[in-house]
Each structure stands twice: as structure tokens, then as C-alpha cells.
Chain length 368, copies 2
Amino acid sequence: MKLKKPTLLLDKQKCLENIRRMKFKADRHKLIFRPHFKTHQSAGVGEWFREVGVDKITVSSVGMASYFSAKAWKDITIAFPLNMAEIDDINQLASEISLNILVENEAAVSFLSGNLHSAVGVFIKIDAGYHRTGIAVDDHLAILELIRKIEKSAHLTFKGFIVHNGHTYHASARDEILTIHNQSLEKLSHLRHFMLQKRVDAIYSVGDTPSMSLSENFENIDEIRPGNFVFYDLMQQKSGACQFSDIALALACPVVAKHNSRNEIVIYGGAVHLSKDFIQDKNGHKIFGLVVELLPTGWGTPVDDTFVKSLSQEHGIIKASDHFFKQTKIGDFIGILPVHSCLTVHAMGEFVVLENNPEKTELKLCCM
Amino acid sequence: MKLKKPTLLLDKQKCLENIRRMKFKADRHKLIFRPHFKTHQSAGVGEWFREVGVDKITVSSVGMASYFSAKAWKDITIAFPLNMAEIDDINQLASEISLNILVENEAAVSFLSGNLHSAVGVFIKIDAGYHRTGIAVDDHLAILELIRKIEKSAHLTFKGFIVHNGHTYHASARDEILTIHNQSLEKLSHLRHFMLQKRVDAIYSVGDTPSMSLSENFENIDEIRPGNFVFYDLMQQKSGACQFSDIALALACPVVAKHNSRNEIVIYGGAVHLSKDFIQDKNGHKIFGLVVELLPTGWGTPVDDTFVKSLSQEHGIIKASDHFFKQTKIGDFIGILPVHSCLTVHAMGEFVVLENNPEKTELKLCCM
């Protein structure tokens, strides 16, 4: 394939290994594996999950649920608080597949009671420390009250509790991730103990990729829903959740200019391709991507002392080592490992799959 | 129109006023007005420019040029350094319209000399202080050398110099913007003086929205290429380049949760809708958007002491005043003024036009 402009490359082998590794872990711990499909948003990648036996998935919007439902996924959890304005689409989905939705307040449950026409499973969003959404994990009475309300509604079946410890994404080391995860499990075990006393049976579902990648402790957990692990990215690598060699995506970008006086390389590849998420190095420099050399069937390890220092709409500016600056020519294509693969995939809307055989397939994202 | 999910609203009246104001300024100063279409990327908004007499435009990619060429725009400058890999598309465009491209190095000129089949106008990118791309404005000899090389090439016609002072976007006050602009003009006047001595006739083209909005000094300038002004955004408002009332876009978002203990409102509206650009308030808090109340034909001024404090893929978290927290209900739609309209428009891919009459039209973005 001849590259023309910024193109997102997917290394199929790395991706398959990431999928298999997580599937094996789920099996080893006897966990329901319900991977989050918001990172790849692709029917084609979805099939790779299906091939290892996955039949339950998580998505983050009603539109994504509709897309995957049309691709024969029949057991979907929408892990996002109910958006009442989409009730018609939810009713449509609920009549076709086994659908779980997320609530965290009585307003949502009341609305569903009055507006649902088919059976829907309900998870309650629990906040175990991230403080983005959910009922506080230790507010047992409020949680129980919501369950009782759910149980009274004709079309709602209480399924369990969903936790997402998104603060692990900003952890700087493995220990920090494991501490967050273990503290969360402890709080959930108190919740489980309370709920057992109240004869409430529930699925306890956790999700973040860093904890799911690093931990072997899943005590009192029934289901895992990681998503990012399918591709990983620099944020995950920095936190210790993966190695550089696990990152399955690179954005191929044309070199369009070089500036000798400041060892900077300008690429066609900007915020509309990579997104504006960044990590910081130990000196506090913002890093919007690391640079890899493109090979016929993949890419190498990150080039030393070389990184994307800034992004504007279509421009990326690379601060390069002397060596890399010298060897790089205007017109070359170089690879950029993304900081946050979920946003890069969404920004690009499609990727090209690199396989061991020379035939390459383009998988389109779903339209949302 | 019934809103279902995050929807980008465009206030047509505000947008038309922004367009007319900039067109009048260009006319008043006898400047060629070649607006940058990368902010709106829309054939429909393009027609509003055409209605006030605009027939020359700027774009930032070959794909965007092809899109607008197909919409009957016949004089287009691609203000991005040449991407050699797109030479076939450039040749196609050059055979159809009056096309200008951007170069900043001999590699690009040599490549074009060997690969172009039709006449193309060439602008040289000049760096007047932003240090992203371009030849240093005071490196007169290097610039002249590149012009001589362009002049020797059969299909290339040297047109002039393009400057983009993108550092004005990060200015914190009007004076800072005007200082950058005036220093740039002074450097360009030295360049012009030198070039006149060498009998080089050229168009001097400048571009950034902050300077174009605030300055009345266009001495020695022939052409302006602002883009963002068509919609403006919070970054521009913060720098003094516009008022809140000039911002022509708001993202309508459903409220999906409220957290009383921390006065936080959760909206369906995240990084995939708004992008991750932020501004900082005087206390150093990151602001990813300001909140407005939606009205039948538009929206109000920003709600006091209320802002988007964080974004994840689909979630936005609003830190709300007591008053706004109390009055907002789960299921409401509220408006978010974007920090960076170019990236929000690109992320959303489409917007809904609010007009005075109840008929509303949806304009699709170009596909790139």
C-alpha cells in the first residue's frame, strides 16, 4: 500500500496478543470477559474478539450499541449514564438484543419505568474513588434504595454494579495502580457483604485497563470490562500497564519540513489526527507522541531523544535527536505512537491493518 | 428539532456578522480577503462567504482543497507545506483550478519541478516569530535563493509570502497580540524592502485571527487569511480577540447525572465532541468549556462560576454554581461554548444551523 497522508496503522499480531492475553486472564480467574469496544469501535476488530470466544461487550453510547447490534453482537452493556433523549433507540435495541444500561440516580429509574417497552438489564454505577460518576461505594443505603426502585419496575432487571477506576490512567507507577485497584476491591467487598445480608445478588464488574493488565487479584469480582488494552498507548506504557512493544497502533505521517537550527521535524499529522492528550516527561516537557521508524510490516522501538513536542490542527512538531534529524528526509513517512489510542482512533475514523501477509485490509470504524 | 445527543449548534446570525465584519475590514484596508476554510470545513458556510463577494480561499490540506474545488471554489491556497505523497491529487487540482501551494525548502521545489504537470502558484512560508514552520523572516538571502529556484521551474509561478503568527492564539491580552502583529509587520517591511531592491514582486499574506480581529495596521500587507473568526471560541475571547457574544458555536449536551456533594453535573459531551484543548482561569484551573443556557433560537451568556472542569471520551464534568446546580435537571440539555472551535467542528463533523425562522438546516463537513 502506498501511503499518501496521515494513516493509522494497526499491527494485527500485537492486537491479537493483547486480546488473547486478557482473555486468558479472565478465564484463569473465572471472570466474565465483557471488553469495552469504545477504543476500537470497529466491527473487524470485534471479530477478532469473537474468534477467541467473546460474546458479551461493553460500549459507551447508544449509537455504538446500535452499530454493534447490527454486527450481530447480542449482549451489550452501555456503560454510560442513561441519556433520556435516546429512549426510542434504547427501546429499539431492547427489543432486539440482551441490553444492559447504566443508572446512578432515581430520575433515570423513574424515567425508564415510564418509558421502556422491553426488558432491560440495569447496572448501578458505583464510584469507588474516581469521582467522575456513580453513587459512592460506601453509601450502601442509597444503593439499596435504588435497587429496590429498580426491582419495582416492570421492564427493569437489576444486574449488578459497575465500577471504573479511571484515575489509574494517570498513575505514574505500577504500585499506584495496584493500590487503587486493591482499595477499590476492599470497598466492593464491604458492599458485597452488605448486599448479601439484604439478599441482593449482583454482578460486580470492574473495568480500567491499567488494573486489569497488572493485577492478579480479582477477589469478589465477577466481570471485567477493559477496553484500551486492545491497542494500548503511551499513557498506558508510562504507567507500567504495558510495554512499548504491546502498543498496536502507530500513525504514519509524512515529513514536510525540517528546521536545522532547532533540530525540529515538521510532520503532516496534528491534533485532528492524534488528539491533544499528552504525557509529561521527567523534565515536565509535554509529549504528544513518540517516534518510531516504519518497517515493511510494522515499526521499531521509539527513537531515542525524539518526541512530538506540539500539535496544531494539521501540524506536528518533532524535537529530534541529532542522529534522527540527520537521517530523516523530507518526503519520508515516520510513525508516531499515540498518547491516547481511544481518542486517536476516534479522530482518524479508520485504520489500516498490517498483517504478516502482504494483503492489507482496511477496517472502517462505526459511524456515530 | 428534537435534540437526542451532543449536537453542535451554529448561530447563523453571529456567524454572518463575523464574516461581514472581517470582509468590511479587508475592503477598508484594500486587502485581498482569502479566508481560511479549515475552521468550518463546510460547503454551506462557504456559500455565506460567497454571498459577500469572497472568491479566494485558504485550506490546510489537499483533501480540503479537493472538497472545495468540487463546490465550485476556483482559487485555492493550500497553506500547508507540500506533502510530496499527494502529488497526483495536486496535479489533478492544478489542472482544474487556480491552485497555490506552500513551500519552505528546496527539496519541495525540486520535487515539484520534476513532478508537476500543470501551472501552480507558489507561496513561500515565512517564520516571523512563531517558530513552527517557514524560513526565518530575516534570512533574506535564503528566501531569495528559493525564489530564484522557483522561477526556474516551468510549472511554478512565485506568488508571495505567507506568514502565520500562531503564537497570538496563546496571548493573554490585546496588547500582546498587537505587539506580535506589529513586530511581524516590521520584519515583513524589511523583507519587502530587500525584495523590491531585487525586483521581486510578491503578495504579503498574513493570517492569524487574533491580529486580524484586533489590528487596524496592515501596512505593507496585501492579503489576509484568518479562519477561526468565522465562529470564534473561548481561546479567542480570553485573548481579547472577540466577545462572548461573537462565539457562533455551542455544543448542546444532555445532562445525565448530578453529584450534590461536589456541585458537579455530568453531561454526555466529552473529548470526542469538544477536543481536549483547554484554557486556564486566573487560579490555574483548566477550563474545557463554559456553560450557556439554551434558548429557542440560540443561547445566553456564560453562566457565572460554572465551567467544564474535565473531559473523558464521552463524559464532561461541570463544576457548577449553587444556583445553576439547583436549577439544572437530569434530562435537560445545556450548551457548552468550545475552547477551540476548529477542533470541535472537526471532532463533531457536522452542525445544525439555528436561524431566525424555525426551519433548520444541517450542514455536513467535507470528508477528509
